[in-house]
């Protein structure tokens, strides 16, 4: 019941944001907005595993790229249908291909979820640090595979041309923004629902003390697999529309370091204990970066994010949300 209300409220907020931006009539706002909202999804997805269960995933960029390249694969398949199949089969396939983006998002989610599950299954029986190291490894293995896979463009990249015509939306960027905004609402609803559920309590028990969690009857391995699968699926979903958004996709852009860094830094700076933290972190850092990109180089930009991450993990372990909560609590008891 409460979840439904939360869903409706966030949907209303999303609509206000969307129509607010539309009122300006500047396409660039949708481009900048898309990037920020995409980070909301990534940060929330990272936090479901990292913040709730305490397992660090350094491979966010890999999961993001899995989503992006699962779309590239399907889009490229669509362009080959005439060469590969007889006329009648091709005609039948062409009624569904090229697949609409929401379908690409769902497929990316399935692929990302499977990879998340596989990663978890291989490493989660071991000490926590091994999982983190394995996620670093995953990013390099997948990047190497993509670089050597000519079908999706290899190291030189591939052009992805967005359909020109749109219904309702004035531009393709606007459509992609609206889609990503909807995904952000979805991920926040999922994160918040988990927090207040039996699953959320199980995650918290794992984060605090895994042995004690087992002794209390928590099936820790299963729960961790749920978290890695869900988190991986959501990250890949965030990457699915990326080829259409950027138009020309290269391994270096899809596996970009900024995704790995931001999806850790944003929840850490915002606060990892609730759904609000990643949201606050993503909106704050994402907006700052969009503003700074205009004025300073992207390297300086990332340097600031890195420094903020270090400062926050040392000084404010519970992030901005934690700081505010402490403040409020102190005032209440005064």
């Amino acid at each position: 019941m409460r979840n439904t209300i939360f869903f409706l409220v966030s949907l209303a907020v999303a609509l206000v944001i969307y129509f607010g931006l539309r009122a300006f009539g500047i396409d660039y706002l949708f481009v900048a907005g898309y990037v920020i909202v995409q980070y909301v999804v990534l940060a929330t997805a990272w936090n479901i595993l990292g913040g709730y269960t305490g397992y660090v995933n350094f491979g966010s960029a890999a999961f993001f790229a899995v989503g992006a390249y699962s779309s590239v694969t399907l889009i490229t398949i669509a362009t080959h249908i005439e060469d590969w199949f007889s006329e009648s089969v091709a005609a039948a396939l062409n009624t569904v291909f090229p697949l609409p983006i929401p379908v690409l998002v769902v497929i990316a989610g399935i692929v990302g979820g499977l990879i998340g599950y596989g990663m978890g299954y291989l490493t989660l029986r071991l000490r926590g640090a091994f999982f983190a190291i394995a996620t670093l490894a995953l990013a390099v293995v997948l990047a190497t595979l993509v670089v050597n896979w000519e079908f999706v463009g290899g190291s030189s990249g591939a052009y992805v041309i967005a359909p020109a015509e749109m219904i309702f939306f004035k531009s393709y960027k606007e459509y992609l923004f609206a889609l990503m905004l909807l995904m952000a609402v979805g991920s926040l609803v999922v994160a918040r629902a988990i927090e207040r559920s039996k699953l959320g309590y199980g995650f918290a028990a794992i984060r605090d003390d895994e042995l004690a969690a087992e002794a209390s009857g928590v099936p820790t391995l299963n729960l961790k697999l749920v978290a890695t699968t869900l988190s991986g699926a959501m990250m890949a979903m965030a990457g699915a529309p990326f080829p259409y958004f950027i138009g020309f996709i290269q391994p270096s852009s899809a596996f970009g370091l900024e995704y790995a860094v931001n999806s850790i830094a944003m929840p850490m700076i915002g606060g990892t204990l609730s759904w609000m933290g990643p949201l606050v972190g993503a909106v704050l850092l994402g907006t700052l970066q969009q503003l700074a990109n205009v004025t300073i180089s992207s390297a300086v930009n990332l340097l600031i994010v890195g420094l903020l991450l270090i400062v926050f993990v040392i000084i404010a372990p519970n992030g901005i949300v934690g700081l505010v909560q402490d403040r409020l609590r102190a005032r209440r008891t005064k």
Binding site: V56, L307, V313, P317
Partner: protein, 291 residues
């Protein structure tokens, strides 16, 4: 097609030389991750800093990169002790090393790389020394000095570390810290102090490893990240904290990588180390020599 025996043997020898170098690169991680249980994923960043320092002194003063690194090692030792102190006070003491400690090292890795990019750009940098260029030839076997000198230096460093760990009181205390902190207190040694020394030592090895790296290949700031998978793969495969195991695993990885690069192309080489790591974690988490 005949199997290219000569090419194969040369690939194996190049791999052996590379493996010796990997042993130096991994020795630091073997101490910090293997013995102290500190997941210092920023270790490769310190190595790259070592490379750039060797580069600066080599270009401006014409000094030998390996000698520079030996002179710089004490400074790295102090830097390492400082980093450990921050890590200890902020994370270990509060019991938050698993999440925030990891994020901290990730931040250090990342910031170092970005700073190097801002200062030196993404151009490849290299050093000059008499042993870069000439190659010893024995029949069809090539021994490039560019690989041989780092390999020998690495083995010297490795042997020195091994002697230190097994023969000195402090070294044995480091071993003890990895097994039982209580026992260490019985030895009247402060575990935090021992860990600080050991961590300083692990960073000091990065100075040398960095200089060896820039002798072997030109470097740019992001090269460090490629080494994360390698060093952890070797460290885990070698059985966490076992220096002899680390040496064997280094050489194994060096040979496999070199063969892959020779026969399938260098673009596949990075995946070898990481693939190795994933397979090790999945099937042999206690390492090659583990039970």
């Amino acid at each position: 097609m005949d199997f290219p025996v000569e090419l194969f043997i040369n690939a194996v020898i190049a791999g052996l030389l590379l493996g010796g170098f990997y042993a130096a690169v991994t020795s630091g991680i073997s101490i910090s991750f293997g013995m102290l249980d500190i997941v210092n994923i920023a270790h490769p960043a310190f190595i790259i800093v070592g490379s750039y320092i060797a580069y600066i002194f080599n270009i401006s003063l014409g000094m030998d990169p390996i000698i520079v690194s030996v002179v710089m090692a004490p400074a790295f030792y102090v830097l390492g002790m400082m980093v450990y102190q921050i890590y200890y006070l902020s994370f270990e003491k509060r019991g938050q090393e698993s999440l925030r400690g990891l994020a901290f090292f990730f931040g250090v890795l990342f910031v170092t790389e970005v700073v190097l990019i801002l200062v030196y750009g993404v151009d490849y940098r290299y050093v000059e020394a008499v042993y870069i260029g000439p190659t010893l030839k024995f029949g069809f076997i090539d021994l490039p000095l560019r690989m041989l000198v780092p390999c020998i230096s690495a083995l010297v460093l490795f042997a020195a570390l091994h002697l230190f760990i097994t023969r000195t009181f402090t070294g044995r205390a480091v071993m003890a810290v990895s097994q039982d902190q209580g026992a260490l207190q019985l030895m009247a040694a402060d575990p935090v102090r021992i860990k600080r020394i050991a961590f300083g030592l692990s960073i000091a090895t990065a100075a040398v490893a960095g200089a060896l790296l820039i002798v072997i290949q030109p470097i740019e700031p992001s090269v460090g990240r490629e080494f994360i998978g390698r060093v952890f793969a070797i460290c885990v495969l070698g059985g966490l904290g076992s220096l002899p195991g680390t040496l064997i695993a280094s050489i194994l990885l060096g040979v496999v990588e070199s063969i892959t690069a020779t026969f399938y192309g260098p673009s596949w080489a990075p995946a070898v180390a990481f693939g190795f790591l994933l397979l090790t974690l999945a099937f042999r988490p206690s390492g090659l020599l583990g039970r």
